[in-house]
């Protein structure tokens, strides 16, 4: 029996050590122990780049293996919740569905933990982003950081007009002198139609793809959102929105749109193949065109045209691009934080090669310096003009209790994509949009207001005034002054 004392004692010591190690918390990994860090997103087009990232990171940190899994978006949005339910969530994941309310939604589902094991981050890390990027209620809570802006929201977004140089040339038009007003756009379309065999505009109408043209044109007249943040009201039936729609319907009826209810892929291919002269979308098209073999020497980028009397609105910019999160189920919190710091180095391997691949802009990197394609330079010039894209107010920052409110989400979820459906139906059937728009707005607004009242009656400090910013003097053509959040 004596011979068993030492091994028995060692076994007891090991058991006691394990029991006392705090099994409920994710453990900070030893930097020497081999670690596999899993990252999930739906950036399938970046798969090769992810492999380079994994190789480079392992070169720098040999004990860490990065497993970056990208799947198609629809599949990803179904399987990620299942992964969390079955306790097989990745260490880091991409999620951004709820816009600026994403963090609150993820916290309510217990999906995320702080970016660093203790929630505190050094100031030299937050300084990688513009001032004001870290906001309580958006990517911070109770002083702890949960997220970080991924893509920038100044250059990235809808509103750019791409013009096919060849088609413009055939029509005798100069794409470097683009139409800047609605009348000029209509005239350009008439010329293209009469002098070429191409269509004027490739406009996808399938599903929600209509938004690519709609957001660009609606922003110039009021807003690219379906909610009026000046008056706290859903806005499709607003006279300015109806005016924008009627203008586009007029172009459609004149045959200025390529015919058919096409999806975005088809419309993009039409544009690249010279079957259409104009396509509207975001700067992500630069890499899409490249993949289609249609490079920046074949097209020109310009700002969307505005109403003849001048811009009465602008595209919206919100702090809604907090996209990568540390999973609450990670067992490698320290390693995840180390990777985030490495990834968000503004001049590091990741930023340099990500921007070289032109996948997107990055909120923490010098996009202007690292994105060298001439098309990107055109994008920067357009977006830097005052009034192209403005900082919108965020109701969450005015009324933090909205983090627990479901009123707006539920009102928006009534008939998802209803606005797109009624607009496409009206445009293809040549119907007046007003009755359908009024139905959409009335239904959503009633749902929003009744739910807010119920939540308020239950003690939540929310009301419709949380969504009204016009009384603060804000207008759609201006950046919202964040000091006005504290004004009543």
């Amino acid at each position: 029996m004596r011979g068993w004392n030492r091994p028995l004692g060692a076994a007891v010591l090991m058991i006691l050590t394990a029991a006392c190690s705090g099994g409920g918390q994710p453990s900070a990994s030893s930097s020497a122990a081999p670690v596999t860090l899993t990252i999930s997103d739906f950036s399938v087009e970046q798969t090769d780049f992810h492999k380079q990232v994994a190789a480079e990171y392992q070169r720098v940190y040999p004990n860490v293996t990065i497993q970056w899994q990208s799947t198609a978006q629809a599949q990803y949005e179904q399987t990620l919740p299942l992964a969390f339910q079955s306790k097989q969530a990745p260490d880091l994941f991409y999620w951004q569905k709820q816009g600026s309310n994403t963090m609150n939604w993820l916290l309510s589902n217990s999906w995320i933990s702080t970016v660093s094991p203790d929630g505190k981050v050094p100031s030299d890390w937050t300084k990688r982003w513009p001032a004001g990027s870290f906001q309580n209620g958006i990517n911070m809570k109770d002083g702890k950081v949960y997220g970080f802006p991924w893509q920038d929201t100044h250059y990235w977004g809808p509103g750019y007009m791409y013009m096919n140089k060849a088609v413009f040339g055939q029509a005798g038009l100069d794409p470097t002198n683009p139409p800047t007003t609605w009348s000029q756009l209509a005239d350009t379309c008439a010329t293209i139609k009469s002098k070429t065999k191409a269509y004027c505009m490739a406009v996808p109408l399938k599903g929600t793809d209509w938004q690519r043209t709609w957001y660009a044109m609606a922003a110039g007249n009021m807003t690219d959102l379906f909610f009026d943040y000046k008056n706290g009201k859903f806005s499709l039936d607003n006279p300015a929105m109806l005016q924008t729609f009627n203008y586009l319907q007029g172009l459609y009826n004149k045959g200025d749109f390529a015919p058919g209810v096409q999806d975005k892929s088809f419309s993009r291919q039409q544009f690249a193949a010279g079957q259409a002269a104009i396509y509207m979308d975001g700067p992500w098209m630069i890499s899409v065109w490249d993949q289609l073999g249609f490079h920046s020497d074949s097209y020109v980028v310009a700002a969307h045209p505005n109403p003849d009397g001048g811009a009465k609105g602008a595209l919206s910019s919100l702090n809604s691009q907090n996209a990568y999160w540390v999973s609450s189920q990670t067992q490698h919190a320290a390693e995840a934080w180390k990777f985030i710091q490495w990834m968000t180095n503004p001049t590091g391997f990741f930023a340099q090669n990500f921007l070289k691949g032109q996948f997107a802009t990055l909120a923490f990197a010098d996009d202007k310096k690292l994105l060298t394609d001439p098309a990107w330079q055109q994008v920067f010039k357009i977006a830097d003009k005052t009034g192209f894209r403005v900082q919108y107010p965020d109701p969450l920052l005015k009324c933090p209790a909205l983090a627990q409110s479901k009123a707006y989400t539920d009102a928006s979820a009534l008939h998802p994509n209803w606005e797109h459906q009624v607009m496409v139906d009206a445009i293809t059937s040549n119907k007046d949009l007003r009755p359908a728009a009024q139905l959409v707005v009335t239904t959503r607004q009633q749902a929003l207001e009744s739910e807010l009242q119920k939540e308020s009656a239950a003690g939540l400090k929310v009301s419709l005034s949380c969504y009204e910013f016009g009384t603060n003097g804000w207008d759609y053509t201006q950046n919202f002054n964040t000091a006005n959040y504290s004004k009543p």
Binding site: P259, G260, H415
Partner: protein
């Protein structure tokens, strides 16, 4: 004498006790059938239960909750979801479209299939096998593929049908059959008939084999 001849003769219709025991052990008797029937049914039942029955029951159960598919099931609404959908005009529009599709498609494909089947069973018709094959071929195409092919053919921007009609001067502006509600339904019905009527043609032909030609 061989082994078999040393065995007692078996009376007609009666088995020896040892034979009965032996067959029961092999599972061939009534007791054996009771054992093997469920064994053979089990794989199917497992698959059916797991992939058809369970999802059906789970769906019915989930339909009683206001659930986003992610959070725990907590917001019981009873028949609230059904009340909402019954009050939704888009649901009734979809219902109407589906009903029209089913009725009109059936009303076209059955008589058409019968007519073609009668023709193909005529003695005087030449190249019967060729026509039978051509009419039957669409049925082997997956439905999704057929839909995709016709989406391309009917595309008003560069589809083959519009291009053919425009080249001959029969149309001057593209016809967007799939872009308008009424024409889209007609187009879908015709494509569905094209794809499926060959199957019914074969059914009719099998039935017509027993009908004298002069009838």
């Amino acid at each position: 004498m061989n082994e078999l001849s040393r065995r007692p003769p078996i009376a007609a219709g009666r088995l020896s006790l040892s034979a009965i025991r032996a067959s029961a052990a092999r599972g061939a008797g009534p007791d054996g059938r009771r054992f093997w029937i469920p064994v053979f049914l089990l794989p199917f039942l497992l698959l059916y239960g797991g992939f058809t029955l369970w999802p059906l029951l789970a769906t019915a159960y989930y339909s009683l909750y206001n659930w986003d598919g992610i959070r725990p099931l907590s917001d019981f609404v009873g028949l609230g979801n059904y009340q909402k959908i019954m009050a939704d005009p888009i649901f009734w529009l979809a219902f109407k479209n589906t009903l029209v599709f089913a009725v009109v498609e059936t009303a076209i494909k059955l008589p058409l299939a019968l007519f073609v089947a009668i023709l193909l069973t005529r003695r005087w018709l030449l190249f019967k096998t060729f026509f039978r094959t051509v009419f039957f071929l669409p049925i082997i195409l997956p439905v999704a593929l057929a839909g995709l092919v016709f989406t391309y053919l009917l595309n008003p921007s560069n589809g083959a049908i519009d291009s053919f009609l425009a080249d001959r001067g029969w149309i001057h502006t593209p016809i967007d059959l799939l872009g308008h509600g009424n024409t889209a339904l007609v187009a879908i019905i015709l494509v569905a008939v094209w794809q499926i009527f060959g199957q019914y043609m074969v059914y009719w032909m099998a039935a017509l084999q027993n009908v004298p030609e002069d009838v």
